[in-house]
């Protein structure tokens, strides 16, 4: 691996029916780093994140994960996705399975763990996020905050090397945002590599190692949070921060 770079996006472009949403983005994510991506809605930040695990296939450029070009058509993307956990805005838990099954189906079917192994680790994780007592509940019985915490530990069950968060708190009632951010904060403390698209500026300032500003499909500025928020250079970033802070 070149240095300790886990993901390298190289000139990533994406168009939807002729409209270019990403106009050539370069970004490197190092192991153990927390990168927060912010930007106005429609800036392409979610699209970019979804390109990282190829949920959106870029129309141009390359994504390297551990030095493997995963945009190459001959690469088995399913294998690489196992190592890239993803958390969605709308949780996307499987409603026909209980919480434990939501968490164990991946490890059992893909990592070939036994039911005992998978359940043991799942229960450990549930314990950590304080939801062990809901192991046999169904997603419809949980609050939004609980669902999102489950979605996070479901992804962790696969023992990923990086976690991608796509606006994880945007669909939550305000009083539930805190509990989800707390889980993410703990994760960052354990040096999990994280790429987070969010509108939570407080979280970005406090947890991020690096903050990235995307606007109109272009990476406008990236910096450590103190510099980024304290001394922004880009004019668009200045006006964006002026509006949201």
């Amino acid at each position: 691996m070149s240095g300790n770079i886990l993901i390298r996006a190289e000139n990533v472009r994406k168009s939807f029916s002729g409209k270019e949403v990403l106009k050539g983005i370069d970004l490197e994510i190092r192991k153990g780093e927390v990168v927060v991506i912010i930007g106005p809605s429609g800036s392409g930040k979610s699209t970019f994140l979804r390109c990282l695990n190829l949920l959106e296939v870029p129309t141009g450029g390359h994504i390297y994960f551990k030095d493997v070009d995963i945009t190459d058509k001959n690469v088995d993307i399913d294998l690489h996705r196992q190592k890239m956990g993803m958390v969605f805005q709308h949780f996307n838990l499987f409603p026909h399975m209980d919480i434990l099954r939501n968490m164990t189906i991946g490890p059992e079917k893909l990592l070939k763990q036994t039911a005992e192994e998978a359940e043991k680790y799942a229960m450990e994780l549930l314990e950590r996020v304080g939801l062990a007592d809901r192991a046999h509940a169904y997603p419809s019985q949980l609050s939004g905050g609980q669902k999102q915490r489950i979605a996070i530990v479901r992804a962790l069950c696969m023992r990923p090397e990086v976690m991608l968060f796509d606006e994880p708190t945007s669909a939550l009632d305000p009083e539930m945002v805190g509990e989800v951010l707390q889980v993410m904060r703990d994760l960052a403390r354990e040096r999990m590599t994280m790429v987070v698209v969010t509108h939570e500026m407080g979280f970005a300032r406090e947890v991020a190692d690096r903050v990235v500003f995307l606007d109109e499909g272009i990476l406008m500025e990236q910096n450590a949070p103190e510099e980024f928020f304290g001394n922004p250079c880009n004019e668009r970033l200045k006006s964006f921060l002026g509006k949201v802070l």
Binding site: L55, M84, L93, H96, A155
Partner: protein, 230 residues
């Protein structure tokens, strides 16, 4: 024409005439059962091909073939399809089983309707479910199998049950190829006794009981599937 009891005796008891209906019922159920199975398998495959095409743009040629199948089957009467199956496709086959012909004709017919029901079911599942499955590392097929189809099946169960009922009643045209199903059985009785009322009402009654029983079964199954989620 005598009183009810006499007519009942004449049409059903005398010379064991009820046996015509009983034997016919067995054939009706046999044809319905196997045609349903065939229809579900066919419909299922077509639905998967069509929704894969809708969602990913893959399987273009297969999708086109499925389109033709759906158009032809849904655009022509079942009784014509049955006749074509017997007199054209199997026309030169001596001693072909009429039950087999009926199962094929009704199964292929039902498959077209099941396909559209299943496709609607698959498309009704939020795209986020597919994304969540894929993001864990499941392949498209695995995500379909473990995540999308179980949910889709639950959603379409009432419609599938309805399709089964439609098929059960549709088999009453089996007489067109001289297959002695329930309806034909009643017809034979009529030709023996010159009484239309008793055998026809009898046949109608048996269909009704079958449909009611089956409706009950489906709603029980539905309730059980829903329990697992509450």
């Amino acid at each position: 024409m005598g009183n009810f009891q006499e007519r009942f005796y004449l049409n059903f008891i005398k010379d064991d005439r009820w046996m015509y209906m009983w034997d016919g019922l067995k054939i009706t159920l046999e044809v319905t059962l196997f045609a349903t199975l065939l229809g579900i398998v066919l419909g299922f495959l077509v639905a998967i091909i069509r929704s894969t095409y809708d969602r990913t743009g893959k399987m273009k040629i297969m999708n086109a073939l499925c389109q033709i199948y759906l158009t032809v089957i849904r655009g022509t009467p079942a009784v014509v399809q049955l006749l074509i199956m017997y007199f054209v496709i199997f026309g030169s086959v001596k001693g072909v089983s009429k039950i087999l012909v009926a199962v094929l004709a009704f199964g292929i017919n039902s498959g077209a309707y099941v396909a559209e029901i299943c496709r609607a079911g698959i498309m009704s599942i939020d795209i986020g479910q597919m994304e969540a499955g894929r993001s864990i590392g499941f392949s498209y097929t695995q995500t379909m199998w473990y995540i999308i189809l179980p949910q889709a099946f639950k959603n379409v169960l009432p419609a599938l049950g309805n399709e089964f009922i439609v098929l059960l009643k549709e088999t009453s045209i089996s007489g067109y190829i001289a297959l002695q199903d329930l309806t034909k059985g009643g017809d034979i009785i009529r030709s023996r006794t010159y009484d239309a009322f008793m055998p026809l009402i009898g046949v109608a009654f048996v269909y009704l009981v079958l449909v009611l029983g089956f409706t009950k079964l489906v709603s029980m199954l539905e309730r059980r599937l829903n329990q697992s989620e509450r």
